[in-house]
Amino acid sequence: MSNEWPLWEIFIRGQHGMSHRHVGSLHAADEAGAIKNARDVYTRRNEGVSIWVVEARNITASSPSEKGPMYEPSESKVYRHPTFFDIPDDVGAM
């Protein structure tokens, strides 16, 4: 239906200085309505101190079928992880 309220993706920052996390989506006519609805739908038990709303159609997502080529550059570079290097115990904490 053409006149359906658009879909918004909702991101909420929990109590503890965490980053905003995607919690779900909802419908609202505009951004102000989306924030009000997000409060009622996703923070009924103090789950958040800050809400971000983004209209779902404005989100660009990577495609799951390209998972292989997309992440290949990081898979082949094991030396990016500290455990790649053997440091003798005698050196102490590093």
């Binding site: 359906e4 309220w5 779900g24 006519a29 505009d30 009622d40 739908v41 997502a61 495609s63 799951p64």
Partner: protein, 325 residues
């Protein structure tokens, strides 16, 4: 359950893709909306999550019936919060269904014109305040039995909605049992009301799990897709085993003369519900089917001017902003 008699769709997909898909599920992978999935998986899930969502929404009506007549201000505030949670559950689930390519309005319209169902339990009336106790204790109790394992279902958005819902359900069941304790320990008249509520809600609660697995043709496919996690009889048994001692604690009698502990199976033997009645309720002939659908249709129609007005306001604000830029 909240989703009863879900027919699983046959699937006519590429066998190789199907095998890879099944292997992912068997390995415990979560399927996300943009991943490839069999058409049957997608359609079955829309039906199941949609029916589950509709049940949460229609399920507000029997309890909403008592908000204005709650015996104290505290009980009223608690019941209001409980019913508001159910609205939230409906919204989480509609969003999960929408990721499968159906719109919210389509889902709503399919409920309103009867193409999609909601749980049979909500077609029974709530006649006294004690019913608020019995509903929370038994109906939310039965829902929990089904929803806890669904947290591990294979479809990511559905599983995540279930995690949220399960966090809130325990409050629902406890507030119901709290009402039952008050009534069962109250005056003779209150105790009679509590017993009467249990008498009326017991068998409809057992129906929530759906007909015996022997008769449910579609569970096998849904089980292998991990969108149905347990058999109907298995969950019903678990519910009875958990609930009977709770009724005993209240000093109430489960309305089943044949109910008795079976030492060998380590569970109760009990009488199943009247399945003819169940199928009649599903067909639309339960005590409240007409009233429930009429209430949802009225709410949808009466709300049309609000939905349209807010959209018009949003469009006006947008064009004013564009003109200013």
């Amino acid at each position: 359950m909240y989703a009863q008699m879900i027919k699983s769709e046959a699937t006519k997909d590429d066998p190789e893709k199907l095998a890879t898909f099944q292997a992912r599920i068997d390995a415990g992978d979560k399927i996300e909306p943009k991943d490839w999935m069999p058409e049957g998986y997608r359609k079955t899930l829309i039906r199941q999550i949609g029916q589950h969502a509709h049940s949460e929404i229609v399920g507000q009506l029997p309890e909403g019936n008592w908000i204005t007549r709650a015996p104290t201000l505290e009980r009223k505030a608690i019941l209001l919060a409980k019913v508001q949670d159910e609205a939230g559950h409906g919204l989480y689930l509609y969003c999960a269904a929408e990721t499968l390519g159906v719109t919210r309005d389509e889902l709503t319209e399919m409920l309103l014109d009867g193409r999609m169902k909601y749980s049979s339990i909500f077609n029974y009336p709530t006649l006294t305040w004690a019913d608020m106790g019995a509903v929370g204790w038994l109906v939310d109790g039965a829902a929990i039995m089904n929803q806890v394992p669904l947290q591990r279902t294979s479809f990511g958005p559905y599983a995540r909605a279930m995690v949220r819902i399960c966090k809130e359900e325990s409050f629902h069941q406890r507030q119901g049992y709290d009402i039952m304790m008050k009534m069962a320990n109250g005056t003779e008249a209150q105790k009679r009301m509590a017993q009467d509520a249990l008498n009326r809600m017991w068998f409809p609660s057992l129906m929530m799990f759906g007909p015996s697995d022997a008769e449910s043709v579609h569970s096998e496919q849904s089980m292998s897709w991990k969108i149905k996690m347990n058999g109907n009889d298995e969950l019903r048994q678990k519910f009875v085993d958990q609930t009977v001692p709770q009724a005993e604690y209240l000093g109430l009698t489960v309305p089943d003369p044949d109910l008795k502990w079976n030492e060998t199976k380590g569970g109760y033997d009990f009488t199943g519900p009247d399945w003819d009645e169940f199928f009649e309720v599903l067909k639309g002939n339960g005590p409240c089917n007409t009233e429930r659908l009429a209430a949802r249709n009225k709410a949808w129609d009466d709300g049309a001017w609000v939905r349209e007005g807010l959209m018009a306001h949003a469009a006006k604000k947008r064009s004013a902003k564009m003109a200013a830029e």
